[in-house]
C-alpha cells in the first residue's frame, strides 16, 4: 500500500484523534468509491472535506455512520479499532451525522424525532419529552418548538432538529453533509457560529462541502477528496484564496471557466406578467431567444411552482403567461413535440426518465409524436435516433437497450439533455441541471446549455450561484414566491446583494 506523506503539523499535538480512518477502501461493483483513505479527526477542530460530487465523500461518511463496512482498511475510535455492524453502534461510539437530506419523520413532532431510538424506558411521556427537548434547545441556543410537527418546519429549523439529535446523544464527532445546501446566507452564518461554539466545547466537527468560500471561512483543516483518494490535507491558514484552494483541488487552474460567447437576442419566447397564486406572488419577467435567465434562491421559495406553471402542469391562477407567443391555455392545449417547450426537471431519475425502460423507450417518452404514424410507433427509427444521441452526447455505457437505472447520474443527465435538444426547443426550462454531477459532466452540460441559446431561450433554475453567474445573462432572485431582484449579471452591485435578496432582505 502506498504511504502518502501528509503535512504532519496537523496531528503534531499529543492529542488522540477522536476518530481515525486507516486506509479505508470501498468498492461498488466496478467503481472504487474510496481508495486507501487515511484521515484523522481531532477533537476541538473543524475539518472540511472538500470534493466534487462523485469524489467519494458520501460513501466515506456512510461508513463512518455505520451504514455499511469498508472493504479494506478499518476505522478507529479513540485509538481502538471498531467494526460497526449497524448505525446504532456508530451512534453509540459517539459519531453523529447530519445528512444533506434530513433523516426526519415529517409526521412526527420535534421531540419525537429527537428522542427516536433513544433509551428512555418503554413508556413515553410526551409532555416530559417536550420539556426535555425544549431545555436542550435552550441550552445551545437553538430556538425550536419541541411540539411542532417537523413537516411544518422550514429547512433551517429542520436542520436545528438534526443538530439537537446529535447533541442529545452527546456525540463527540459531528459530521455535516453539505450543511448549507438548503439554507439562506443568514441561516448559514448562524449555523457557522453554532459550529464554532460546539468546536470550542471540544467536539470534533467534520463538514463536507464543495463550496470553496464556505470551507475557507469555517474550517481549521481541509482535506481534499478526489476520485476516492485524499489528494491533499492542510491547514486552512495555509491557503491564500479560493482560487488557490480550487487549484489544489483540481491540480491545475480551475477549468470551470467557461467560454461565454455573445449571442444575439431574438424574439420573445416567454412572458410572465403579474403571475400570482400557487405560492407565487406577482412574478413578472420575460425571456428571449439567445439568453439564459437564471432563477436563484433557496429551494422551496416558489421556484418549483414557477416551473410547474411555465411547463404547463399548473394553470396560472392570476396574471398572464405567454409561451412562444401564445396564451398559456392555448399553447398547452396542443402540445407540439418539436420546436416548442422542453423541460429538464430536477429529478432526472424519477421524473425525466422511466428507470425500468430502455434508453430508446426513454427517448420516446417526450418525442413519441415524432416517431408515430397515427398509432403505429416506428421503433427502428427511434433506435437509430437514440444511437445518434448516445454517441453525440457521450452517454456511457453506449448500449441503447440499457435500462435507465443502470446509468450514472451524469450520463443520465447527458441523455436527458440530448433528448430534449433533439426536440429543437425554442424555450428550455432546466432545473438544477448539474446537481450531483462531477466536473466533466458539469462542463458538458454547461456547454450544451450555452449552445442552446442559439435556438432557444433558457430558463435556468438553480441553487448554485456559481452556475448561475457563469451561465446566465440575467439573474432573478426568488424569495417566498416573489422576485426580489432581476438584473443582468454584469451589475456587480446587485450581484453582491444576492445573498441578502435570497434571505428576503430588500434593503
Amino acid at each position: 500500500m502506498s504511504e502518502r506523506q501528509y503535512r504532519t503539523d496537523i496531528s503534531s499535538v499529543d492529542v488522540l484523534p477522536q476518530v481515525r480512518l486507516v486506509d479505508v477502501s470501498k468498492r461498488f461493483g466496478q467503481v472504487l468509491a474510496n481508495d486507501g483513505i487515511s484521515l484523522s479527526i481531532m477533537p476541538g477542530r473543524i475539518k472540511a472535506l472538500l470534493g466534487e460530487n462523485g469524489a467519494g465523500k458520501s460513501t466515506l461518511m456512510a461508513m463512518l455512520a455505520g451504514r455499511f463496512p469498508p472493504d479494506g482498511g478499518h476505522i478507529e475510535v479513540e485509538g481502538r479499532r471498531v467494526d460497526f455492524a449497524s448505525p446504532r453502534e456508530a451512534i453509540a461510539a459517539g459519531i453523529g451525522m447530519v445528512y444533506q437530506h434530513f433523516m426526519l419523520v415529517e409526521n412526527m413532532t420535534v421531540a419525537e424525532n429527537v428522542l427516536l431510538g433513544q433509551e428512555g424506558g418503554f413508556v413515553l411521556h410526551p409532555a416530559a419529552m417536550r420539556k426535555q427537548v425544549g431545555e436542550l434547545a435552550q441550552r445551545f441556543g437553538l430556538g425550536i418548538d419541541p411540539g411542532a410537527r417537523v413537516g411544518d418546519l422550514s429547512m433551517g429549523e429542520r436542520q436545528r432538529v438534526e443538530i439537537l439529535k446529535l447533541l442529545y446523544r452527546e456525540s463527540h464527532v459531528l459530521i455535516f453533509d453539505e450543511p448549507t445546501a438548503v439554507l439562506t446566507p443568514v441561516e448559514a452564518e448562524s449555523l457557522f457560529s453554532a459550529l464554532r461554539t460546539m468546536s470550542g466545547q471540544g467536539k470534533a466537527i467534520v463538514f463536507i462541502s464543495h463550496k470553496l468560500e464556505e470551507v475557507l471561512s469555517l474550517a481549521d483543516e481541509i482535506a481534499i477528496l478526489r476520485r476516492g483518494r485524499i489528494e491533499g490535507e492542510f491547514l486552512a491558514s495555509d491557503v491564500a484564496s479560493p482560487a488557490d484552494l480550487a487549484r489544489r483541488m483540481v491540480g491545475r487552474d480551475v477549468v470551470l471557466d467557461i467560454e461565454r460567447n455573445a449571442v444575439d437576442q431574438g424574439r420573445q419566447v416567454l412572458a410572465v406578467r403579474h403571475l400570482s397564486g400557487h405560492g407565487l406572488d406577482d412574478v413578472s419577467f420575460d425571456l428571449h431567444r439567445g439568453e439564459i435567465l437564471a432563477i436563484v434562491g433557496v429551494a422551496g421559495n416558489g421556484q418549483q411552482q414557477l416551473v410547474e406553471v411555465v411547463c404547463g402542469l399548473e394553470r396560472p391562477e392570476s396574471g398572464e403567461v405567454n409561451v412562444l407567443g401564445q396564451d398559456w391555455a392555448k399553447f398547452f392545449q396542443s402540445r407540439d413535440w418539436k420546436g416548442a417547450l422542453a423541460w429538464i426537471p430536477e429529478d432526472r431519475a424519477g421524473l425525466a426518465t422511466c428507470r425500468g425502460l430502455s434508453l430508446t423507450d426513454n427517448l420516446l417518452l417526450t418525442t413519441r409524436q415524432g416517431f408515430a404514424q397515427g398509432q403505429w410507433l416506428e421503433r427502428s427509427r427511434a433506435r437509430g435516433a437514440t444511437t445518434d444521441i448516445v454517441r453525440e452526447h457521450n452517454v456511457q455505457p453506449g448500449n441503447i437497450e440499457a435500462q435507465a437505472w443502470q446509468l450514472s447520474g451524469g450520463n443520465l443527465q447527458k441523455f436527458v439533455l440530448g433528448r430534449e435538444l433533439y426536440r429543437e426547443p425554442r424555450l428550455m426550462v432546466a432545473e438544477q441541471p448539474t446537481q450531483g454531477l462531477d466536473v466533466s459532466a458539469t462542463e458538458a452540460v454547461w456547454q450544451r446549455l450555452l449552445e442552446a441559446r442559439k435556438t432557444a431561450g433558457v430558463l435556468l433554475v438553480t441553487g448554485d450561484l456559481t452556475e448561475a453567474l457563469t451561465l446566465a445573462d440575467r439573474v432573478a432572485v426568488m424569495f417566498r414566491g416573489r422576485v426580489m431582484g432581476l438584473f443582468p449579471v454584469t451589475d456587480t452591485a446587485q450581484v453582491e446583494r444576492i445573498g441578502s435578496l435570497m434571505a428576503g432582505l430588500k434593503d
Partner: protein, 371 residues
C-alpha cells in the same frame, strides 16, 4: 450480515429458468408435505397429479380447454398490472360477462348462431368492461384503492349472477336446481372435434379467441403509441404528468379492456362448457389469472404457457380428488404456494447474493485495480 447483496447489472439469461424451476419445485415439495400431513402419499400424490395433468391426450385437451378462460382473463389482468393498477376483479368481470351473454341467449333464442354469438360476446364484453370501469372511475375521481373495490365487486358480481339464476332466469324445468334454461344451439359454442372429424374431447371453437386476443395484446403493447404510453405510465403518475401521458384515459382503458376480456372468457365458458348459466361456472379462473399474469411477468407467450400449465394442474387436481379423495382446495394451495415461491425467487433475478469475507481476511486492493 454474512451475506453481501448486490443489485445485478446484467440479466441472468438462462438462470431465469433455473430460478423458476427451483421455485416450482419448492412449492410442489411443500404441497407434498401437506399431502402427507393429510394422510395421503406425498410423492405418490404428486405423481398422480402429473399423470392426471399430462398423462393422457384427453387430459392435455382438458388442460387446453381450461386454459382458454384463464388465458383471456390473464391478458386483461396483465394489461392493468403493467400500469401498476392492481385489477383483482377478473372473477367478478367474468361473472358479469356470463350474465351479459346469458341475457342475449335468453332474449333471442330463435337467432342462428351467426347472429346470436356475436351479440352474446358483445354483451359479455360490455358487461365485463363496465364492471371493470367502476373501480377505475373510483380510483381516478376519488383515489379509492382499486384493489379493494375490484375485489368487493367480485363478491357482488357473483351474487348478481346468483340472484338472476335463482330468480328471474331460473329454469322452471330444472327441479329446483339453480340454473337457467339451456341455451339454444345458436347460443352454444360447438366442439371442434365433430366439425374437424377428430377426437378432440371438450375442445371448442372458443379457442380461436385466444390467438386473436394474444396477438392483439402483443401488437398493442409493442407497436402502438398507446401501448408505449401504457408501459411508461407504469412508472407512476408523476412521470405521466411530465411526459403528458394520458394517464386517466389509460386507467379507464386497461380496466375496461381487462373487464371485457374477462367478460368474454365468462361468456365462452358458460356457452361452451355448460350451455347455460349456473353458479358453478365460477371456479376461480379470475384469481388463477392473477397468478398466471405475475408468474409470466406480463408477457404474452409466457402468459400462454403459464395458463396452460396452471390449467393442467387444475386437471391434475381433479384426478387427485377422484383417486385420492383430496379436497379441491388443494389446487388453491398449489397456486398460492407457487406464487409465493416465485415471488421470493424473483429476488434472485434482480440481486446477486454472495458470502461476505470477514474484514480481517480482505486482501489489500492492488494498485492495478484502481480505475
Amino acid at each position: 450480515m454474512l451475506l453481501q447483496i448486490r443489485k445485478r447489472e446484467e440479466s441472468l439469461g438462462w438462470g431465469v429458468l433455473v430460478v423458476y424451476l427451483g421455485a416450482l419445485a419448492l412449492a410442489l415439495g411443500v404441497c407434498a408435505v401437506l399431502l402427507t400431513l393429510y394422510g395421503r402419499p406425498g410423492l405418490g400424490g404428486l405423481a398422480i397429479l402429473f399423470r392426471g395433468a399430462f398423462g393422457q391426450s384427453y387430459s392435455l385437451l382438458d388442460g387446453l380447454v381450461k386454459a382458454i378462460p384463464i388465458f383471456l382473463c390473464s391478458l386483461g389482468v396483465a394489461l392493468s398490472f403493467r400500469m401498476q393498477i392492481w385489477n383483482i376483479g377478473a372473477e367478478g368481470q367474468f361473472a358479469l360477462g356470463a350474465v351479459g351473454a346469458t341475457f342475449m341467449a335468453l332474449s333471442f333464442p330463435g337467432l342462428p348462431g351467426i347472429a346470436l354469438m356475436p351479440l352474446m360476446f358483445l354483451a359479455a364484453m360490455l358487461a365485463g368492461g363496465a364492471w371493470g370501469l367502476i373501480p377505475a372511475v373510483l380510483r381516478l375521481k376519488l383515489g379509492v384503492s382499486e384493489i379493494i373495490s375490484s375485489l368487493m365487486l367480485n363478491y357482488i358480481g357473483i351474487l348478481v349472477l346468483e340472484f338472476l339464476v335463482f330468480g328471474v332466469w331460473k329454469d322452471p324445468a330444472s327441479f329446483g336446481f339453480p340454473m337457467t334454461a339451456e341455451f339454444t344451439s345458436g347460443g352454444q359454442i360447438a366442439r371442434m372435434g365433430p366439425t374437424l372429424g377428430l377426437a378432440l374431447g371438450k375442445l371448442h371453437w372458443g379457442l380461436l379467441a385466444c390467438p386473436l386476443a394474444g396477438v392483439a395484446y402483443s401488437v398493442f403493447l409493442s407497436r402502438t403509441r398507446l401501448g408505449f404510453e401504457l408501459a411508461a405510465c407504469g412508472e407512476g403518475e408523476r412521470v405521466a404528468r411530465y411526459a403528458q401521458l394520458p394517464y386517466g384515459f389509460l386507467v379507464l382503458l386497461v380496466m375496461g379492456l381487462g373487464g371485457a376480456l374477462a367478460g368474454l372468457a365468462g361468456s365462452i365458458e358458460s356457452s361452451a362448457i355448460l350451455g347455460r348459466l349456473q353458479p358453478t361456472v365460477m371456479v376461480g379462473y379470475g384469481y388463477t389469472a392473477i397468478v398466471v399474469a405475475w408468474l409470466a411477468r406480463l408477457k404474452p407467450w409466457p402468459i400462454a404457457f403459464t395458463s396452460f400449465l396452471l390449467a393442467s394442474l387444475r386437471v391434475g387436481v381433479e384426478v387427485m380428488e377422484l383417486e385420492l379423495q383430496v379436497p379441491a382446495a388443494f389446487g388453491q394451495i398449489m397456486e398460492g404456494g407457487i406464487l409465493l415461491c416465485v415471488i421470493a425467487g424473483q429476488f434472485f433475478l434482480s440481486y446477486s447474493v454472495s458470502l461476505k469475507r470477514p474484514l480481517s481476511e480482505t486482501p489489500p486492493i492492488a494498485k492495478e485495480e484502481r480505475a
